[in-house]
């Protein structure tokens, strides 16, 4: 491969990885944006999304829908709804009672939810990997020795489309403003007629649905699922959300893409390589935060004396 081809291929790899990070980071960011919680359980929602969609796809595989794109799209929609509702239930059961508690307690509760989720899946799957069989092959197109499968191309488009829809929803409706306002002063929002519980529930629904969609895409793309699969991407997406400016929606996408690119080029660059690539990206993250303490798109915290 020529240098140019390597760059293009790595660019593409980074974008695809980055859009997964972005999708998961969105959920972190939204939840943080509204109740200032670093939702550790979010990564497990991603994992549950993967498994949920696998069951559905296995089921639909037997019907006329098949395991091709049609079956995948239907499974994805149902997964997003089911897992979105799971997110809402988790919020009701585990987070709502602690809304006024210290924030770190909420963080630990989220950790508890995370443990419950992944250990449940571990028990159910006996800790084994599950193959994610789809009807998609490895067909693709190549430009020189740059090779991109159709699946990859479609997934990246889907991820970007989902992010755009979310962005429009948040900027074009009162919902987005209410979300931000709730994070600043919940009681005062109530006095404006905002149904705070409903908006929080909606946030969890949307965030979880997005994570679930990412979980399914990961299954389709990587071909296998594991109860622990959320862990690493969880940390990465969390990092991405912070790089972009946590609580800021476009920031999460930007952070995700940036992190994806850092990792893929980090792997390729000789002195860094796969061994040091995470050190490389975390170092850049720390530098970003030192020079821009609220993340790339974050605004300066403004409070007067």
């Amino acid at each position: 491969m020529s240098l140019q081809e390597i760059v293009i291929q790595q660019l593409f790899n980074g974008l695809l990885l980055g859009s997964f990070y972005g999708l998961v980071a969105l959920g972190y960011s939204m939840v943080y944006g509204i109740i200032r919680l670093l939702n550790f359980a979010h990564a497990d929602i991603y994992m549950v999304g993967g498994f949920c969609s696998l069951s559905l796809l296995t089921f639909f595989g037997g019907t006329f829908l098949g395991k091709g794109w049609l079956g995948i799209i239907v499974s994805m929609l149902i997964t997003m709804i089911v897992v979105g509702l799971l997110g809402v239930i988790i919020e009701r059961v585990a987070y709502k009672p602690l809304r006024e508690a210290p924030r770190l307690s909420l963080l630990i509760t989220a950790l508890g939810v995370s443990m419950v989720l992944y250990n449940s899946v571990m028990v159910i799957t006996a800790g084994e990997y599950r193959a994610y069989g789809t009807g998609l092959g490895y067909d693709g197109f190549s430009i020189g020795s740059v090779f991109i499968t159709h699946t990859q191309a479609i997934l990246i488009l889907a991820a970007v489309a989902l992010m755009l829809v979310l962005h429009l929803f948040i900027t074009r409706t009162m919902y987005g403003k209410a979300m931000r306002a709730i994070s600043m002063d919940r009681d005062c929002c109530r006095l404006m007629g905002v149904n705070v519980n409903k908006i929080i529930a909606l946030t969890f629904f949307v965030g979880s649905a997005l994570a679930a969609s990412a979980g399914m895409m990961a299954g389709v793309y990587y071909g296998s699922l594991h109860f622990y699969m959320g862990f690493t991407i969880g940390i990465k997406a969390f990092t991405a959300a912070v790089i972009g400016g946590i609580g800021i929606i476009p920031g999460a996408m930007l952070g995700g893409l940036l992190l994806g690119l850092l990792e893929s080029f980090g792997t390729q660059i000789p002195l860094i390589g796969s061994a040091w690539k995470d050190v490389f990206s975390f170092t850049i993250l720390i530098f970003i935060l030192i020079f821009k303490p609220t993340g790339l798109l974050g605004k300066k915290e403004s409070e007067r004396m």
Binding site: A126, G133, Y138
Partner: protein, 367 residues
């Protein structure tokens, strides 16, 4: 779903119609039955129980009943020390097991200090034995046997430029290093030497790197699940060279997950019972009792149990020194997987590695 055998089942199997015993011999099992490696640990425990049933049915050891007590090391060094001291506190005669090298090392010290003979049935890092001179015995071929096997395999495939991928843990890194050195010493080229972090799913940038390095073969030294994903992504990313995986990936699950991409993948494998003619009876017993296939390390676990029983018989007592000396003196003891004789370092003398190839979703023995 594999039924985790309950305590009750265990007793029933042990004491069904066995003869009268004159006391019991308590042996510790140290394997992970929780955590990421729980399946293998479970397989090993199951196989040991089968061996114990056979031994007890044949009259036990020195007329005493062989009993087990489990210490779960969770494949985690911290948990492992607790498990090891729990076993030592229960005054076991010897310990069987040891799956994750990293989690076995701290235990070795504890067993050595307590003078408890320890037969390591799966972990095979060469670092292990140094920690416990005299009291630990490895019945799995050590890493350098595998490095030889892998180099032979690639040479046969006519490959010269090789890429190595490990997973950043002691075991897979150690193997990758040994094989790399072997490969270089045979006058070949290493074009990439990389690591994927545990839990990562996306290897596409690594695939591109390997492709751009011009590698003709890839040697994966870590475990099957991530191995399967790597294989799929290599093929998806347009890599067409040879792929060989190491013993951690010898599970059929690798082929199940990898699907079409798994065709033609080679494996340097420890003696897996499925391909050993002598092991057919063991397999059917295992199937009958646990309703699943024995995993890759079940055979060695079974062998280790018999080896221990034999050594205690030869020692004629449960005195630890006597057992240790008897183990060290083992001479051409026939087991399912190999003929056991130990080197002065208590490591297996002859390599027991074999080469498998993925064909039609199954491993088949090459040669």
């Amino acid at each position: 779903q594999p039924a985790a055998p309950s305590q009750g089942e265990d007793e029933e199997a042990g004491g069904a119609e066995a003869p009268q015993f004159d006391g019991e011999i308590l042996v510790g099992i140290m394997v992970p039955v929780t955590g990421s490696e729980a399946t293998y640990g479970q397989d090993m425990e199951n196989a040991m129980k089968i061996a114990a049933d056979e031994i007890n049915a044949a009259g036990g050891i020195l007329g005493k009943e062989l009993k087990f007590t489990l210490g779960d090391d969770g494949c985690d060094p911290q948990m492992c020390t607790a498990a090891a001291s729990k076993l030592v506190s229960s005054e076991v005669v010897a310990v069987l097991g040891g799956y994750c090298s990293g989690a076995t090392i701290p235990a070795l010290k504890i067993y050595g200090d307590a003078k408890v003979p320890f037969i390591i049935t799966a972990a095979n890092s060469t670092e292990l034995i140094k920690e416990n001179p005299g009291w630990a015995f490895m019945i799995n071929s050590p890493g350098y046997h595998q490095a030889d096997a892998a180099a032979d395999c690639f040479e046969k495939l006519g490959v010269s430029k090789l890429a190595f991928v490990h997973q950043g843990d002691g075991f897979s890194e150690n193997l990758a290093e040994l094989t790399r050195d072997e490969w270089l010493s045979r006058g070949h080229e290493v074009v990439a030497y990389d690591v994927v972090n545990k839990g990562e799913q996306d290897f596409s940038s690594l695939v591109t790197k390997i492709r751009s390095s011009g590698a003709e073969g890839v040697y994966w030294t870590a475990y099957h699940a991530d191995g399967a994903m790597l294989i799929m992504q290599l093929r998806q990313g347009g890599y067409t060279g040879e792929i060989t995986v190491a013993d951690g990936s010898s599970s059929v699950q690798l082929l199940e997950i990898a699907g079409a991409a798994g065709e033609g993948v080679y494996c340097t494998s420890p003696p897996v019972v499925d391909y050993l003619p002598a092991a057919q009876k063991f397999i059917s017993t295992y199937n009958a009792k646990y309703n699943q296939e024995p995993g890759p390390y079940a055979g060695l676990a079974y062998d280790g149990t018999h080896l221990l029983a034999d050594a205690i018989e030869r020692a004629g007592s449960t005195d630890p020194d006597a057992i240790r000396d008897a183990l060290a003196a083992t001479d051409k003891f026939e087991t399912l997987c190999a003929t056991v004789t130990f080197t002065p370092e208590n490591v297996l003398e002859e390599s027991n590695f074999m080469i498998l190839k993925g064909e039609g979703g199954k491993w088949v023995l090459v040669e």
